[in-house]
Amino acid sequence: MAAPTTAPIDLSAALVMAPTPLADWLVIAPMGLMIGLGAILVMVRHRLHLHGWIAIPGLVALVLLDAMLLWRVAQHGPFTMTAGRWLPPFGISFTADLLGALMALVSALVALAAGIYALRDIDSTGRRYGFFPLLMMLMAGVTGAFLTGDIFNLYVWFEILLISSFGLLILGSERQQIDGALKYAILNLMATTLFLISVGYLYAIFGTLNMADIARQADAHSGTAPLVTLSALFILAFAMKAAAFPVNFWLPASYHTPRVVVAALFGGLLTKVGVYALMRVMVMLFPLQREELSFVIAVSAALTMVVGALGALGQNDLRRMAGFAVIAGIGNVMAGVAIGGTAGVGGAILYALHSIIAMTALYLLVGEAARIGGSWSLQTLGGIYRQAPWITAAAFVIFLATAGLPPFSGLWPKIVLLKAALDIGAWWLSAAILISAFLLTIALGRVFLLAFWRPRPAEMAVAAPSSPEAWQRTAPLAGLVALLFFFGLFPEIPVSLSQGAAASLADPTAYIQSVFPTGGAE
């Protein structure tokens, strides 16, 4: 029994003795909020009218918390909280740095948009299946993955978001969904298992799972331990998560089967968690090994981009086209990781942020187009411009942003990446970026021409009965388009933030300092 003792014991060797400032709770509060709200939503599962009233304010609070977190990190640098007062590396640390906070904030914005859209889009059946509790758990997993400072904990957050994504994917249990979910579930499970193997080997080499601890020991082990093999395993696992080229086939097989708002969340968030983990592990923990493997990553990146764009060209189904557009975006982020340096990684981070917003917007837009036009097929769609001019305007913005044309947000990360690629002489990588953007422009331009601009085909002359416009549908789309506009016209803030995030990844002194303020218990 832990009875109170009177004998003095020196606890300072094992425990954090300084009182924790309230602001440090920002790093843990987003996950706590999401898990708590998810639990409450599970408890009131059958009072469907309450779901929206709990979930939407919760997501607003998540955005605010993440914004405060980002503000604090940008002002004062990274900070850490270690669970249970144990000194790191023994306790599980949560560390917020610029990269994690940026990704968390943008993901929260996207989740808020999707949550509002779901108010109309998810009917009572979907709610009874638990859309909103699963959304909360998904956001807990995503945010936790961005903010954790412990690599096994990262695995656990991956599993949390994976389990909730399974639930979301088969929401409604349609036959097509079960087909897609089977492939998605098996391949993603293999990816996380590979990740677990890598974590096991990592622990065998380093004897620690704390990322800051690994980062400061990586140099010492690089000559003696098979770190390149380990990094290759990590790359394979994360590339599978992120749907990079040789292991991307699960994405177009499954992402078009769930409800469109679920697909929007997945396209925006899940693959980006994979590339985030890739950046965190390869750039911060194993920079030397990233250097050695950069050619492999670059080839995979170039192929991912081109395959994604070519796939988008060949699709008749709008949702599958969007799935390939997601893959093309992943290629660009991977290219940044392969280039390395502050410019390359900064470009990758910027592209990931842009891609989170743009892909969610793309899926929501495609959903709107199909709702108005009554079909997912390019063969039969047409004339949306006449029916919904504002949606068409949004489509114009989103397509240009996705293809990376000015004046929207897709342009800047591509410019940063191109310049970084040319600076290190990887002309073929920059060529791949340009080719991919060109093909994607054609694919998206064709969608615009066929689905929005041309008159409705004769055999489809009767307009599909479409439900009336609702602010729950248009407001999130408008918000995301506004974000794309804003980042396109005022790129200074995101560019400087992402460059700062890349700099702190490349030189994690401040990160390590925040975990081991006194230099650590060596």
């Binding site: 029994m1 832990a2 009875a3 109170p4 954090v16 009182p19 924790t20 400032p21 309230l22 440090d24 709770w25 843990i28 706590g32 898990i35 708590g36 998810g38 639990a39 409450i40 939503l41 599970v42 408890m43 599962r45 059958h46 909280m81 270690t82 669970a83 249970g84 007062r85 306790g91 949560f94 509790p133």
Partner: protein
Amino acid sequence: MNTIILRTVAPPITALMLVFSVFVLLRGHNEPGGGFIGGLIAASALAIYGIAYGVAAVRRAIYFHPMALAGFGLLLATVSGFLSVFVNVPFMTGLWIYPSLFGVEVPLATVISFDVGVYFVVVGAIASIALALEERESD
């Protein structure tokens, strides 16, 4: 599984297992045991009751939906982790109080409430799966 032997034996066994699960839950604080294993025992108790008397009887007996129990447990565990915000120590630090009940000092901690939360999560989740499977069997 509608035999008279099982139907006679099931209520005492269920009651015994539920008591034992609480014992294991509380014992887990310093010795082998804990919320997870306790929850599993309780869930299997409910499953046995369901096999003997049917799923409807179990649902009536536990009153709340099993998923609601799981949600409650998750909430309890989360709140236990967050109580340490009030005493300026990091997340999930164990906080102890030592109230005196009938002259016996009873150490209580957020660790215990966290474990109780785990217990409820496991009971709720496993019981809802088990009950769903048993229901499927009957039709």
